[in-house]
Amino acid sequence: MNEDLLKTPVVKGQLIKWIIDDKLSISEIAGKLWDIHLIDITIEELQEYTKTLLLSNGYEV
């Protein structure tokens, strides 16, 4: 529904925080994306997206 929000600076920041700082699992992150932003994304798509996001921000995956 709101997949375009994934590309916004706020959601990118949230994803990095949830993975690196809060150490949430990928399914917990998918749940949060739906609860907060109504972003409907599969686990596989989210895994792929977060991997690219982390690499482009200098994190090791």
């Binding site: 709101n2 706020v10 949230q14």
Partner: protein
């Protein structure tokens, strides 16, 4: 301009309670969306009262909101007189703003990733939004707005003036009474933890429309009523008053 009558007093009280929510300890500030036809006093009602936690924003941009939150660390309510300011922007701008407000209304804004490893950290800034729009734009856009996610977090209040009420306002203007907007009245309370017993809270179930978010909002409004009445605990009198106010908390556009 607005008129003084029992029904506008009810709407004014709901707005005041939403502002008071910023003074509750351990509760997130409430958000409010006012719906009414043009020239039905939405803006003047929103602006009648204020708190030290309010930021009044007419020019709403992504960068502008971030800058404001960085500079003003007390702000808990962003007041946006016209909701269309958010939704009528071009897609990328709207997405940035909507994601920012979604985070502000939910778990807070933390890191904002601007690319090239540049980030801004707002350290979990969270709060509420108070805004308004017309009945027409609500009906035109409600499906899209629902899809944005953040509208479901708002308490929605609607009304429309009866022809007699409009005539009353015309008469006031014709009498050339002072209709200039007065300075907003500053509401101030000490930050307080208000307690509400489960048996009191349970009395709100019947007016929650089976919505968990509405039930939670009603529980916070109940605490606001207690604080407004100088108590740190809720009572049956607060329940009674909230049930009266609830007649406007819907999209029925009740005539007043």
């Amino acid at each position: 301009m607005s008129i003084e009558n029992k029904n506008t007093d009810d709407i004014k009280e709901i707005i005041e309670l939403v502002y008071i929510s910023a003074f509750l300890k351990n509760e997130k500030p409430l958000s409010l969306l006012l719906l009414a036809p043009p020239e039905n006093s939405k803006t003047s009602l929103i602006l009648e009262k204020t708190t030290k936690f309010c930021h009044y924003s007419t020019d709403l941009s992504f960068q502008g909101v971030i800058k404001m939150l960085q500079e003003k660390n007390k702000i808990l309510h962003i007041v946006i007189p016209d909701f269309l300011k958010i939704t009528s922007k071009k897609t990328s701008t709207k997405n940035n703003l909507v994601s920012l407000l979604n985070a502000f209304l939910d778990e807070g804004i933390f890191q904002i990733n601007l690319g090239n490893k540049e980030t801004i950290d707002l350290k979990g800034r969270a709060g509420g939004v108070v805004t308004a729009t017309t009945d027409y734009s609500f009906y035109q856009n409600r499906r899209n707005w629902k899809g944005l996610g953040f509208l479901s977090r708002f308490i929605v209040v609607s009304w429309r003036y009866k022809p007699e009420t409009i005539q009353e306002i015309f008469n006031t203007i014709n009498l050339e009474k002072n209709t200039a907007r007065k300075k907003s009245i500053l509401i101030n309370y000490k930050k307080t933890e208000v307690k509400s017993k489960p048996e009191i809270n349970a009395k709100l179930n019947e007016i929650s429309d089976n919505s968990l978010r509405k039930l939670k909002n009603l529980q916070v409004l109940l605490k606001c009523l207690a604080l407004k009445n100088g108590r740190n605990y809720t009572t049956d009198a607060d329940i009674k008053r909230l049930k009266e106010l609830n007649q406007f908390m819907n999209t029925d556009f009740k005539e007043i």
